[in-house]
Symmetry: D2
Subunit: 445 residues, 4 copies
């Protein structure tokens, strides 16, 4: 046996963690296999059964999957009378055995089933995919919704922050991972390999992702960062294909201009705040001349809100903005340009004053960054004049600033009292108001 | 920022997963920190609190640890009336929300606490150490025993077989890991670096261990393997310091002569059966000329059993054996040699016929290997004439055979009906019986 | 200092071996720097001077480069009278000192200059690029041609086979290396990333390259391999975008269908034969069910030869073939199809009988594979109907077979006596001859 | 074929670069094989012949090796008349072909032979070992000395600084490399694994070595570094087994207290100056709070010099020192302690004033560090009171200071004019002189 090196071993093991289809001859149905897997004493035949079960599942059509999830929901549910009895016993004597018994009863058997399936190398990714199926099925079968709780419970444990690995993604990253970056980019679509290259190869562009050791080919979430001198005014500037590359040593600002979750099946397990925090840490260690960490973020709900609120606001200027937006095509910015200051004012109101019933900001991106301890730094009009940018927010974007010295206090104040940290500039915008009459210079003026 | 390569990144990240002590200025007590950590909304300050909590815990003396565990046991226990209420609600409507609510109540808050602590890189090893403390404390404070259930629950999930990595351990393995092999070897002690080297460097000696990506320096369990021609008769032969190395290509038998668990804090989470199974798989792939996979195992309870059973057996030969063993010193084998066949017969009886009340074999090593699907292949007298070997089993050792083609059936029969797979040789030994009179040639004969 | 792991260190070092431009303030000219570098006693300031010299060189225009190479050719040439004197001394006393003195004189100082430049991490690639410049300049300045001898001498030593590393190139290979595969493919152009992917990702497609540790991002040479059942008849079949992937386990034949040298600056340093030999070794170890190792190779000189030989051959069929080829467009195969057998016969003659004055085969690809010990296995018409395939060889391709058991004998016979190993099929083709009259079915027949 | 990852491949390739003995059936003698290898056209059978040649060589006894080297020296020598003829031709026309022809003749065939042997993976280490044999044989056969020139020529090219890799060596380094550190330490012997550990594990102790990619298990040279507050006065202080570890962050001084060459067969190829320079660079990048880089070095020729010079100096104090040293045992420092200042003065004279005929300092360690651009900073008596320390230098040691800002100037001045950079302290010691009468307090005083 050729001696392969220790670390090489580890690497290969990790990188061969993909699930390998076997050719199982076990003829039992998925339900039979699940039952057998749960009652099996040892592990010897368990791995084989788990593998067969995965194959059986993957061969199912939609209706069969519904049946299978029904089986999980019902037969593998918790036994309520048994729990009640165990509670009585445990209340009487809080012994280890009684507590253990109660805990086992409280945990539905389907959790144990999923855990046993997960013993196969590569099965984790299969279970993440299974949850995607489940989420789709739940829409038609809401009674199955509680199964999702078990997936979330297990995934939270397995994808614990402590197990995640941050990796830089650049032009030296394996192609099979890069193609997933192209696929998963959710904010500013990547057109092709050349576009991708412009975002990860130049020395003033970085990209970082979180990975899990058992899914080494699959980014969980990634963030794209532009190193700049000063804060850019628009995403067009950041993504311009002909721009001049800034020498890394001259940059003073890191701009997080896109964050994308990659795994639909890991929805509800939050990685984003850790990611930004960790990237800020890495960048400030490696590039000590960086002074400012800021996002360039969309306001995904701004236009919807303004359309709904327009009647209340009752301003001809707002009406004009809405009218322009209706006919605007990407890059066609003259009309909106005339209303830049109004848009900035309205966006500030939207971000700072509009709340959900729970008291949290209406805008989901604002909730995310403010919850992480960022503050609202500035608002830019005409900052994303793509189709999507105009449709969502009339082209407006916002900078959330991560100031390492204030992040903790911002977070506490926001989590505790809902206080939204912001600069004077934002306060100024809030006060600015909407001009009384429409000052737009029309084309024929 | 110097571009470091993708995999290099991953490696470094994994290998810098050690916990790094900070210099936290948080003055809150462990209990206050635990409460804050549990109520904290976001993660921003959570990591810092978790780090402080670990430091606070590590600074505690034994009495303070007891107090802290009492806090975990009581204040962070489950709320029984609330669970009962949630059961009623869930019984009425098995909705996702109701199920989620019930599940959250069933899980004691201390589990969530441990999970949040585990978000810090390197914290897993700290929690494993915490359980070692707990196990010690439980001996005096049995009321805290139920805390152990939570540790086992979490560790089972985190150390799921699917997350473990098998690595070969050899003379090219980093020294910090090798010193742990010396430290943890539990069956046949390793005297020093030279002894270690004899066990891992020659081409007819292999060693494999399971590791977890977040504790890359810590073997969880390891097995030592000797490649031989035929099955060796004794461990002396295997460990002889002056033996001739067998060319790998001439070996036909792999002998598993030592399996050691390394992490006391992971007691109750079984890795052993996976390990053997995986090593057999690797060896048979890389060394296709191997024909036999067999252990050379101790019988740790044999002498205790025989001493207890001697009165019932009422044989002068047995009495003589017990008498010899009392005065035998390591390597002093003449006396026992005279009784080799009797010892083999008695060992066969002990292994095959002596049971615990549960019906399982009395001998723990037999339970382990038979449970894995091995069969009892042969029994050797004078096979471990060290102090420990004589004290445990009069020097007797046993071969359990792993026959890939029969492992599954053996396992099923054993798990189902308690049937103990064995060779005709063992049946022969069972029938042989004890000679009627003592045929030992005494020194003065 | 964060402890980074041993291997991680090695990796990063290798992967940061790129040359890093400094900002040298040394104002000396390249010639002055070269002189200083050669007289410098120690190394302390040498690295700095070498770096400055590289920068100075890279800033030169073409005329300046000519001047610089003139300096190398003349001032740094060998000193003939001094060598003659040293020969006399050495002839009188073959001492170490005399031999050393003679050797130093025989080696032109420019070799030492290049060696000192090469001490800078990353400089090797710079020197390879310098030779590309030189080769271009030599065309106009043939007096500089002897400089190339020094480059070849040094590169042969540095790129010694023993220092090369064979790596598999697949879809998990870093993108910066893959883009070079696209760029360097010299035989069957790769259109884009999708085309590349079809050639390296499916399990029946492999690609291997040689790399040198100090130029880890630069393939030196690579080969593309298709795993097939039986030997394919055409490259169209191999490269078809819609073909069905063959399970690796069903393949019995490995087809080397493209070999490309990547580094113009390493011309004359042969890697190809090692590469094929090594790939055959790796494949036969990993895929023991492969039976046949064969190329699908172009005949780059076939058409030129036939055009030149047509007058001598004086056959209407040959004239017709030449006429068809003149107007044929890619994929337009009807005309040529009518002459398949004639083309195969002519190609066999061309490969087996046409020689250079040195006695070696006229065709360069034939020289290469026959020199490696391959034999001519079969010839296919209409096997490459691309523009290039028709232009070079009327679409004809040839299989050279690597039979591990016969490679050595073939090689010896070819190297010694010029004997060309071939199958009976080829002998049959040789005998077949050209049909007397043109049997082409014309379109209007 | 299991897909193994790109880098994994590279790693394994590098780490399997060890030479693997084959079982060659080639019956030719070494001389026959060498001739065949040199005339062989292709590479196909060359690798096999090279392997056989190595095996044949390794099986030789000493007399046979002498014969083999005689063959290399004579039959594979250069052809002087042919060179003279080629010079005449080249003088007439400096064409590429003529230059190439001349170069080929100037290079003895044995160089080409060694180069062809080196094509086998792992052969480089074999050739390094071959030179060790040669060096031993040369002592008895001085006529073979010129062969060493060829080895040096090739090794200088292969072990070019640009191909070396600097690695940190610590407690996580593979054991097979660590045992070589124990073996090769040449200055302050390492007693056992515990002693080794004390030198590489604590955070205030570092060790770095140079490695070559084709001999990844073999350090070429390594240096041991102690991080200190201030400059230590003695090596006892540095190596004390019970010392308190200094937190890395509190260190301000890096002390290079031991540099060891590892490969006798690479004698004459200098790595030391690069190593120190590179380590200073790495440390100053990673530990920016370090202010001072200094050695704690032996004066290996001091005692020999003083014994020879004693007659000229004619001082009773010097005579007394010599007398004490004769009877002193390790650690017995009282006698020498009385003469500390005299020893420092004498050592300063020895270092600064005593020269070889060439004008270079007499002391080899001084030559090395001064040649690297260091300056003499301080001299300590009783600084190495081991047997070796007293035997070489009465326990005296010296600090050479590497001041990055002055290294280049120091080096230039030393290389150019032989100026020895030193502190005022050294100048003071030079002036101090020897006391007129012996002030030693005798034991009976």
């Amino acid at each position: 046996m050729a001696r392969t090196h220790f670390l090489s071993d580890l690497l290969s093991t990790l990188f061969e963690r993909r699930y390998r289809a076997g050719t199982t001859r076990d003829r039992r149905s998925a339900v039979e296999l699940a039952r057998a897997l749960l009652t099996g004493v040892g592990e010897v035949s368990g791995l084989q059964m788990a593998r067969s079960l995965i194959e059986r599942y993957e061969a199912m059509d939609d209706a069969e999957k519904v049946d299978y999830f029904e089986f999980m929901a019902n037969e593998l549910d918790i036994d309520l009378p048994a729990i009640e009895e165990a509670i009585r016993v445990y209340a009487g004597d809080r012994s280890r055995a009684h507590f253990d018994g109660l805990q086992r009863l409280c945990q539905p058997k389907r959790q144990e089933l999923l855990r046993r399936i997960n013993q196969i190398p590569g099965a984790t990714a299969k279970l993440v995919a299974m949850r995607v199926d489940l989420q789709k099925i739940i829409r038609e079968h809401p009674d199955l919704a509680r199964l999702d709780v078990d997936f979330v419970h297990l995934f939270s444990s397995w994808f614990n922050r402590g197990f995640l690995v941050l990796r830089r993604i650049d032009w030296e990253t394996p192609a099979n991972i890069l193609e997933k970056i192209i696929e998963y980019e959710a904010v500013h679509a990547i057109d092709d390999w050349d576009d991708l290259r412009r975002r990860i190869e130049p020395e003033d562009r970085h990209c970082f992702g979180f990975f899990h050791p058992v899914m080494p080919d699959e980014p969980l979430i990634f963030v794209e960062v532009a190193l700049c001198r000063g804060i850019p005014q628009s995403v067009q500037e950041v993504l311009a294909s002909e721009r001049e590359v800034l020498p890394e040593s001259e940059a003073d600002t890191a701009v997080f201009y896109s964050i994308s979750n990659c795994q639909q099946g890991l929805g509800g397990i939050s990685f984003g705040n850790s990611l930004i925090k960790q990237v800020v840490e890495n960048l400030s260690r490696d590039l000590p001349h960086l002074r400012t960490y800021v996002t360039l973020s969309p306001l995904p709900g701004f236009r919807d809100w303004l359309e709904a609120a327009a009647a209340d606001i009752a301003s001809p200027v707002v009406d004009d903005i809405l009218a322009i937006a209706k006919t605007a095509s990407p890059g066609d910015i003259d009309g909106l340009a005339a209303h830049s200051e109004t848009l900035r004012h309205l966006a500030a109101r939207y971000l700072v004053e509009e709340k959900r019933p729970s008291g949290q900001p209406l805008d989901p991106v604002a909730r995310f960054h403010l919850g992480n301890g960022a503050l609202i730094h500035d608002i830019h009009a005409l900052a994303d004049v793509s189709r999507n940018g105009i449709d969502q927010a009339f082209g407006v974007m916002v900078n959330y600033l991560y100031d390492p010295g204030r992040v903790e206090a911002n977070h506490e104040n926001f989590a505790g009292e809902g206080r939204i940290a912001r600069t004077r500039m934002i306060n100024g915008l809030l006060k600015a108001g909407i001009p009384e009459k429409n000052q737009r210079k029309t084309a024929n003026a």
